[in-house]
């Protein structure tokens, strides 16, 4: 039915999943930095975090992606020119994950900011009262409790991001969409292959929803639910 192209498409799925998960990790790091800048930062940090989240969320993903992709290329080459390294090509994989991470870091900044603010201040004070250091308070009190509040937003961002990975095919990354395009051109059956990868995306999002649902339960264990009272 797929004329032997199924293994190639599934290989593309591996690229897609790897792009999505590496981007998520980058977005989480950027989101944590952005959220701490917004909550704890000085005026300059707060302003730059606000500028970052508002502009990125006000522009199409594709535009931000192309700006980061081409801009990164220009930046890299101007650096390499000053040091006389010759022409450097930006690896599409690195460009892809860093742009998607950069875009969705803006969304996660807001998610994490909300999560930090929902941890009761008394718990943080109690930590300091027991003589814990700032890092200990962050790792043992703030982070574990943040996760519970961040999981719904994180789930949503992951689902949107998974679908946004389709855009990396435009900047030349050999992901599932790109491979579906190749298979379509070779077999002249574009519907078969685009519908196939649509179904694969659907399977992955469904699996993710179930997985994150379980994570939500896990991170909320021991917490009284509103309905029970």
């Amino acid at each position: 039915m797929f004329q032997g192209y199924l293994p190639m498409i599934l290989g593309g799925l591996r690229v897609t999943l790897s792009v999505a998960s590496v981007s998520l990790a980058i977005a989480c790091v950027i989101g944590l930095i952005g959220a701490s800048a917004k909550v704890y930062g000085g005026k300059a940090a707060r302003l730059s975090a606000a500028a970052y989240t508002t502009t990125v969320r006000a522009l199409p993903d594709l535009l931000v992606m192309l700006v980061v992709f081409y801009g990164g290329q220009i930046l890299l080459n101007s650096i390499s020119e000053t040091y006389g390294w010759g022409y450097l090509d930006v690896d599409p994989y690195i460009a892809g994950v860093s742009t998607i991470g950069f875009v969705f870091g803006a969304y996660l900044t807001e998610t994490f900011r909300g999560a930090i603010l929902s941890v009761p201040a008394g718990q943080i004070e109690a930590g300091f009262a027991y003589g814990l250091s700032r890092w200990q308070v962050a790792f043992y009190i703030l982070l574990p409790q943040m996760i519970r509040h961040a999981v719904p937003g994180l789930t949503n961002t992951w689902l949107v991001m998974l679908k946004a990975t389709a855009l990396v095919s435009i900047i030349g990354l050999d992901d599932m969409v790109h491979r579906a395009g190749l298979a379509s051109a070779a077999t002249r059956e574009p519907f078969t292959f685009y519908a196939l990868i649509g179904l694969i995306y659907l399977a992955v999002t469904t699996f993710s929803v179930l997985l994150f649902g379980a994570l939500e339960k896990l991170s909320s264990r021991g917490v009284r639910s509103g309905g029970a009272a």
Partner: protein, 247 residues
């Protein structure tokens, strides 16, 4: 620095792109709204069969990338001989029709869920009261359920319209010369970033600000009866969100 000559030379192209972006957005929003209101009613019906059928559609669309949906319609439909030999073939050959169709199907899926959620959260007492004074089913829908659901849905619906505006950028992948396509062409011709994507970013930024301002105005317009801070329904929203001048 920015080469303003390149910007000036390409402004007419950007203006043309902006017109195309706006045409696409307007047609998609109008058709999306017209289809999702009835679908949302079906989705919130008590009978599980119809509701589940609509859910299946919205779930499938919300679980797949818009780019893939666009490619299925634009490149995929042409695979079928019976379409190519039928009267509707000129439609599916047109990138405009395909982009409009893909974006509409996509926004219908999200908007239907937004409206259905708002309809479901109608206070049961309001419906009972309307029925008890003898309003027909259609009148209850028209005068009680829909106005309050529309108000609750507005903030999310505004977000969805802004996201649709951003999604029109994908139409550049099927040869429609909207803002994004113009930016990519200018970049390919001159290899300058600020003059190509910078101008496009400024246009999208203005559109985003314009749309969010418009929807904030709509919210204050439709929620002005709640703007007194002692109104019981105002408690979900901070008072400063509403227009204080009207009260």
């Amino acid at each position: 620095m920015i080469d303003w000559e390149i910007v000036a030379d390409n402004l007419p192209a950007f203006a043309g792109g902006l017109v195309n972006t706006l045409i696409l957005l307007a047609t998609v929003v109008v058709s999306g709204f017209a289809v999702s209101v009835p679908l949302a009613l079906v989705r919130s019906m008590r009978s599980p069969h119809f509701s589940r059928a609509v859910w299946l559609f919205t779930y499938g669309i919300r679980g797949t990338p818009l780019l893939v949906q666009l490619f299925v319609i634009y490149y995929g439909i042409a695979q079928f001989e019976f379409v190519r030999s039928s009267a509707i073939w000129p439609l599916f050959r047109s990138p405009w029709f395909c982009a409009w169709l893909a974006l509409t199907i996509n926004t219908v899926a999200y908007t239907t869920e937004i409206f259905a959620g708002a309809i479901r959260t109608t206070a049961p007492g309001e419906i009972e009261a309307a029925r008890s004074i003898g309003l027909s089913r259609a009148a209850v829908l028209r005068y009680v359920i829909w106005p309050s659901a529309w108000r609750r849905a507005l903030p999310q619906y505004g977000n969805e319209v802004v996201m649709m505006m951003h999604a029109t950028a994908l139409a550049s992948t099927v040869t429609i010369v909207e803002v994004m396509r113009v930016a990519r062409d200018v970049y390919t011709n001159y290899l300058v970033l600020a003059e190509s994507f910078g101008v496009a970013a400024a246009i999208y930024l203005c559109l985003t600000i314009g749309l969010t301002t418009f929807f904030r105005w709509l919210e204050t317009h439709f929620l002005r009866h709640l703007s007194r801070s002692n109104a019981p329904n105002a408690r979900e929203k901070p008072a400063e969100h509403l227009n204080p001048k009207v009260a």
